[in-house]
């Protein structure tokens, strides 16, 4: 086969600029050949190199006493959870592939993140996801939504990992460019941490997993450009096909092999496949690597070196084995009926050398390729639209809608509505570890003996394993971020932290998925820059080190960019089983308390800026979002955890989209006991009038730092007394009981039938899909 000549057009079509090409020529002292150009194009794409965002990401707090593997070191970060146990977790996007081919795009997103976890030597024990779509009024959006949900379910269900948490929001800005961010978490012992480094000169390099095909050619480069109709059409073939069965076998085989101690280094072939895994392992090991492509299992005949190196066929791993222990690889992979091939060896040359039919087709310096992509300080400029959105005042709003009618409309708004249509397609019970199912503020997972990589057999359960409980929440209100990137970034972290506190957990660490538009647009880059600053500040404040994550830029379609969406995945720990707390009311007669100030009176919009109320009722995506005071959030969370720990609190639910009235409603009816069997517990609530705050703002404003809590009446004096000592606002607002939700505010009183509110909330998404 004759390789194409390197022309400026070819360089451009690989997403490399003239400057970048010259940098490559200088680095090599010659021009790259066609295969090498392909290798550079993926390694120096945003997806692999973070060339546009690296300076910003430096702001994240990455250190902490529990950090065992920090951000950027390996495929996923690792945190200590005590007793010699550790967790590996990470979130990653698969936005562009899902826009083109929703089912496969989503499956391979899940597959990729699971591999990142077991590459670290951890057994994945749960998955979660954060999704964004356009309006469900559009048939195309419905197609994407259904396809993505089915794809996530298919992969996780078959692989055997419970999909336990997530968020789904709908906004026209995601039309044509949905966001699919997949999260996974695994468990291992400290001494089981595996590394993605090519250590030991002379050690053999193995390729394991199914054969390489032409699918997913240069997916990383595809993810690093604007999505257009033309690019989507061209790239349909760039979407990989996922096989969760193969991945399950790969998981068990890799964990079994790692337990033998024969592995010197292991790295999954994700973005940029063989290219990325070979050059990154060599770069991390401070070594070189040499492989022979003829030995790589291939699905179709006549594949060129370029195609083999850039393929993103799924469920493959690169394993560096201690010399002399090759037979263990063969034995274990034969047992699992998985293909394997010895494809090369570790060298001391510092170079990544690839041969094809005996001929050298790539000879590049590994470290420079992996680590020396150009870094850009992009221009940023405060977006012009903010002048208009920030000028919104309360006086300009009519706020005339009857709160009695507003509540069911908000509950049926797809972003707020129950996501049962989604999560009931995910197996959230497999692995016997899910202690709090989807549908509460955070999911809670139990870490038990069989959460570890090795298989447990034999004797009866003796209870000696130090079981742990973890809480997971994925959050981002992108409308807030759009309206005030810095404040919105902080708000995303604060909401995740509040959700953890409601389940009884203290934050351990965070992973982030930064989804934005084209970084070459100064206004879009400003959104990125400002929101990262907010996220970093809040993560540092909550002592939640960021252990890794993913950046996805160029999320736009011809209609414009998406709302800036920094999704925060926060993982926390719950002291013991008794402290696990859910959001729904538990018993008639319990006292309902509001923890936090009922309304932020320093906010000129009283919490209505960027609110669901403005979007649904007034048709406005405008105003300054509510402010978050991190200090107050922390005080409230600490107080709540204290009460949960002492067994006083029976339920806790934070106020987010839709404000107090939506949160109260959810607490009344969100317990899903079984199929067709929701549990209803009414509430009678009376709120003290606040001067200048009308019912609409009180009921539906989204002032931050508010949590609805229930306690037994006998404990009321005790908690009120403690709140006063702690200096946190806590007020009795009502009691659990009855068949309705009633809220009195001053002279006005509103009563809703729980069954009809529940119906509006529970069936909203399903109805829109019919």
């Amino acid at each position: 086969m004759v390789e194409p000549e390197i022309t400026p057009e070819l360089v451009e079509s690989h997403g490399l600029t003239d400057d970048e090409y010259q940098r490559i020529q200088k680095l090599l002292g010659r021009s790259p050949n066609y295969t090498e150009l392909g290798v550079f194009s993926v390694m120096w794409s945003e997806h692999c190199s973070y060339k546009n965002t690296r300076p910003l990401l430096k702001q994240f707090p990455t250190q902490g006493p529990g950090v065992l593997v920090g951000a950027g070191e390996e495929n996923a970060g690792i945190l200590d959870i005590g007793d010699g146990l550790a967790i590996a977790f990470k979130i990653e996007s698969h936005n562009h592939p899902s826009a083109v081919e929703p089912f496969q795009g989503a499956t391979t997103g899940v597959g990729g993140i699971l591999r990142d976890i077991f590459t670290m030597g951890a057994r994945p024990i749960c998955a979660a996801n954060s999704l964004r779509f356009g309006s469900l009024e559009s048939a195309e959006v419905r197609r994407l939504f259904k396809g993505v949900v089915a794809g996530i379910g298919h992969y996780g269900n078959c692989f055997g990992v419970p999909t336990v948490a997530g968020e789904v929001a709908f906004d026209p800005s995601y039309e044509g460019n949905p966001l699919v961010n997949a999260f996974a978490l695994g468990v291992l012992r400290h001494e089981q941490i595996a590394r993605g480094a090519a250590k030991g000169v002379g050690n053999p390099v193995f390729y394991v997993g199914p054969a390489t095909g032409r699918d997913g050619l240069a997916g990383a480069a595809f993810a690093s450009q604007d999505l257009t109709e033309e690019s989507a059409e061209q790239q349909r073939g760039a979407v990989q096909v996922g096989d969760p069965f193969m991945e399950k076998l790969l998981l068990e085989a890799c964990l079994e092999l790692l337990a033998t101690g024969a592995v010197a280094g292991i790295q999954d072939m994700g973005a940029a496949g063989l290219t990325c895994s070979t050059c990154e392992t060599a770069a991390r090991g401070g070594t070189g690597i040499e492989i022979e492509l003829n030995r790589v299992p291939q699905r179709s005949p006549g594949m060129s070196p370029y195609e083999i190196m850039l393929s993103e066929s799924q469920e493959r791993m690169l394993i560096i084995v201690h010399r002399g222990r090759e037979d263990e690889v063969k034995r274990i992979f034969d047992k699992w009926d998985l293909p394997w091939a010895e494809v090369g060896f570790v060298t001391d040359s510092g170079r990544m050398v690839v041969r094809h039919e005996g001929r050298v087709v790539v000879d590049l310096p590994a470290r420079e390729l992996a680590d020396e992509a150009p870094i850009y300080q992009r221009e940023s400029r405060r977006p012009a639209y903010l002048d208009e959105t920030e000028s919104l005042t309360l006086d300009s709003l009519s706020l005339a809608a009857d709160p009695g009618e507003v509540l069911p409309r908000l509950l049926a708004w797809p972003t707020i509505a129950s996501k049962n249509w989604v999560y009931r397609q995910y197996d959230y019970t497999v692995r016997n570890g899910t202690a709090l199912f989807p549908g509460s503020d955070a999911a809670v997972l139990r870490v038990k003996e069989d959460s570890l990589p090795g298989l447990v057999e034999g004797e009866a359960y003796d209870g000696s394993f130090p079981e742990k409980y973890l809480a997971i929440s994925l959050d981002c209100n992108a409308v807030y971020v759009y309206l005030d990137p810095y404040e919105g970034g902080k708000l995303a972290v604060a909401e995740a932290a509040r959700n953890l506190a409601c389940s009884g957990a203290i934050p351990l660490g965070a992973t982030d998925n930064l989804n934005y538009g084209n970084p070459h647009d100064p206004e879009l880059f400003w959104q990125l820059k400002e929101s990262v600053r907010g996220v970093a500040e809040a993560c540092a404040f909550f002592q939640a080190p960021v252990t890794g994550g993913n950046v996805s830029l160029y999320n736009q379609n011809p209609g414009g960019a998406i709302d800036p969406t920094p999704v925060i995945g926060l993982v926390g720990q719950i002291e013991d089983e008794d402290a696990i707390t859910s959001q729904w009311f538990k018993e008639e007669g319990d006292v309902i308390l509001l923890l936090g100030n009922p309304v932020d009176q320093k906010d000129p919009l009283l919490g209505l800026g960027g609110s669901a109320y403005l979007q649904v009722i007034e048709g406005l995506k405008s105003g300054r979002p509510p402010r978050v005071c991190l200090e107050e959030e922390k005080q409230i969370a600490d107080a709540l955890r204290g009460w949960i720990g002492s067994g006083v609190v029976k339920s806790a639910h934070d106020c987010s989209e839709g404000g107090l009235a939506v949160a109260l409603s959810e607490a009344c009816f969100s317990e899903d006991h079984a199929r067709q069997t929701p549990r209803f517990r009414g509430a009678q609530v009376a709120l003290d009038p606040v001067a200048g705050v009308d019912a609409g703002a009180m009921l539906f404003g989204e002032s931050q730092g508010r949590i609805i809590v229930t306690v037994e009446r006998a404990f009321l004096p005790k908690v009120l007394g403690q709140a006063e000592i702690l200096g946190v606002p806590l007020k009795e607002i009502g009691s659990v009981g009855g068949e309705t939700l009633t809220i009195e505010y001053g002279e006005a009183s509103y009563t809703w039938d729980l069954r009809s509110l529940h119906e509006a909330w529970w069936t909203s998404i399903e109805r829109r899909l019919e």
Partner: protein, 233 residues
Amino acid sequence: MRFSVLQFPGANSDQDCLHAVRVLGHEARYLWHKESEIGGTDAVLVPGGFSYGDYLRAGAIARFSPIMQALVRFANEGGLVLGICNGFQILCEAGLLPGALIRNRELHFRCEHVFLKIANPETPFTRVAPDSGVIRVPIAHGEGCYFADQETLSRLTESRRILWQYCDQEGTPSEDANPNGSVQNIAGVCNEKGNVAGLMPHPERACEPVIGSAEGASVLESMIQTLSERGQH
């Protein structure tokens, strides 16, 4: 008691079965699909998952594995065998149980807790049923719609071999309570001899209150009681 849990490639509830048995105070081990003997074991669990990827039809490939030949012998000699979810599908494909499981009525994979009516409380799999005759356990399947021809259904009914039916909280097998379209709300059945049973829901995922329900334990406890009466331990 000593349970064996079959381990097919792609099975993913094998660990759940093992965990449940151990939580109930008994021993369990895995039995690899390439093995050709069941060996010293009191009962066998065929776990859920996607054996061999379920590429042809759920459970259709697993039935040809060496361990399945051994399982058929074990069952013919009267050994207790319970197939759960994909394990139920495998037992049907292998001819150890009547009927077949086809795609859910709504075509979606469905995960949720359901109520099961113990339709016959006098079998080795149901004898420890609670007084209410109803247990709450999760389902998690895409192909769980039970189907059998009229003649088979009549035989099943006459011989009281329908063991579990989807029902509402009060124990009525209503249309609303049926999550997948199964004929007569059938969630699980047993063979003629009564020593092999299968069901789509996951009792092994409902053996501890911390994971939402402990009511599934009665299924395994029924097996344990039967075995101890037989003098096996």
